[in-house]
């Protein structure tokens, strides 16, 4: 019985430590990934390259600022890297207003990075409104994942 418990415990540890923690919302990544430093993969897997927003909101949560703080450090490490911030909305909105809201979300991220010392000329923004969901389908969980700002190397 102890042996089985031990095996199950070990499996649980393996599963939990290797799980990409996307479901907590902010791509906090897995520090032991094999991505080359200073690449998009590095950003996505080790730092976290997206933040999520509440419905109709563009304010940054504490989870979001935690991710962005790591991005600040990373951008300071790689001064030659410029980034594009994409702002997105979920599908449960109207076309034109969502283009504006996506732009506002992208700028919320840019403004934060700039406030932490990143040179504004390194950061571009773009809005995709509701036109580029990352997760297809329906329901509050899906929509929550689509209300996001994504940072990509430019």
């Amino acid at each position: 019985m102890k042996k089985i418990f031990g095996i199950v415990f070990l499996m649980l540890v393996v599963v939990l430590t290797s799980c990409q923690s996307r479901h907590n919302g902010h791509g906090s990544g897995n520090a032991s990934s094999s991505a080359a430093p200073g690449t998009q993969e590095d950003l996505e897997e080790n730092i976290g390259n997206f933040v999520l927003f509440e419905l109709n909101q563009s304010t940054l949560s504490s989870d979001a600022t935690a991710v962005l703080n790591r991005q600040v450090d990373w951008l300071n490490n790689y001064q030659y890297i410029n980034v594009l911030v994409e702002g997105h909305c979920d599908i449960r909105g109207t076309r034109e207003y969502n283009l504006a809201l996506g732009e506002r979300r992208a700028n919320a991220v840019k403004d934060y990075l700039v406030s932490r010392g990143i040179n504004s000329s390194r950061i571009s923004v773009i809005s995709y409104g509701k036109e580029r969901p990352v997760v297809l389908g329906s329901g509050p969980e899906v929509w929550a994942q689509n209300r996001r700002a994504v940072v990509v190397i430019n």
Binding site: E96, L99, S124
Partner: protein
Amino acid sequence: MKIRFFFLLLGMYNATFALTKVDITRGHVEPLPIAISDFLGDKHIASELRSIIINDLEGTGLFRVIAREAYIDEVNIDKTPTFASWRQINATTLIGGSVSSKERNVGFKVWDVFAQAEISHEKISLTNNNIRKVAHKVADEIYKKLTGEDGYFNSQISYVSLLKDDKGRYKRRIAVMDYDGHNHQFLTAMNNKIVLTPRFSPDAKNVLYLSYENKLHPKVREINVNTKLSHEVGEFNGMSYAPRYVDDRHALLAVAKNGASNIHILDLATMKQEQITFCSAICTSPSASPDKTKIVFNSDMGGTRQLYVMDYDGKHQERITFNHGYYSSPVWSPRGDLIAFTKMLPGKGFFIGVMRPDGSGERVVARGWLVDGATWAPNGRVLMFERENGPDKGVGIYTVDITGHNERRIKTPYEASDPYWSRNFDPE
């Protein structure tokens, strides 16, 4: 005693004679039965004219064309019809005509069967390739005589055609077509670049739309329907979007920059632009009144998405929506009397509605899982919009009367969104 059965449907009654009329704002009415006899002359042209006219009139939901097999008499446009034969099959209205290949025109008459009166007589020039336009013009004339409203059958639609790739993502193209789906053509190529909200110029020669073809800089472009050549319009710091022509060479649009959106007027000839709102919030989706004195727009400056009206120069902004819900996508009717909009009620879905420009008289005309993008028929009595009935159910464009009745899907080659309805034209 003559059975005046159809007088239940009449809007106007005169003591000496009654003219058949349909009140199209009254809500659900039984379609008015009418008869269209075969036009004399070229049988092929006559047949094509008849089927287009029937499609136009029956598509309004207001008329029912009695089947040809039921007709017990014929019509010669040069003679007075035997009205009794047409009363016998319950036709309220009779149309007859002739195609003259020699004179290159189509002549037609409309008779009120009960009043036994000729109520219209027109001749329209026929060229080699305007048969559809001539048919639409005949239908316009019949519609006008019987409803008192202008017809809309010689109008066009611009819209976004969507095709899903094998990953379930959309490829979009700008497309234009006659309002009945004929003469469909694509204006942009099939690729992954997002294109949105195409809107015709009043002369329908050009279309303004939002394009992501300049990769990091989504901007409004203008494309010529004939040449398919396009160019960016104006030089804006930020994303230009939400374009609408005010006339053939002026447009309203919004510009998003630093987290705010504001409204600009653009002279398309000089590319000079003027910013007319100075929101720190989102002020977007401008739509001008037909007399160009006012603009309705969408803003969350008060905290939630609402509709505002301001003077054309940007002064005197006034909120007009105060009911429960989030309002957006406003569009002013070409009649000037109503504004159509999209409303979202959390937990209840989306609605297309109309209201007076002061915000009063709000009415729902369509509802669904996702409905948006209302556009007005040129006579201000029909709306077109996009509808999705659920996730993965696809998106299509639909028309509905402003009474909320007679909703119909518009046939398109693929999925469709972002419709825009042009004005009505005369055949050349």
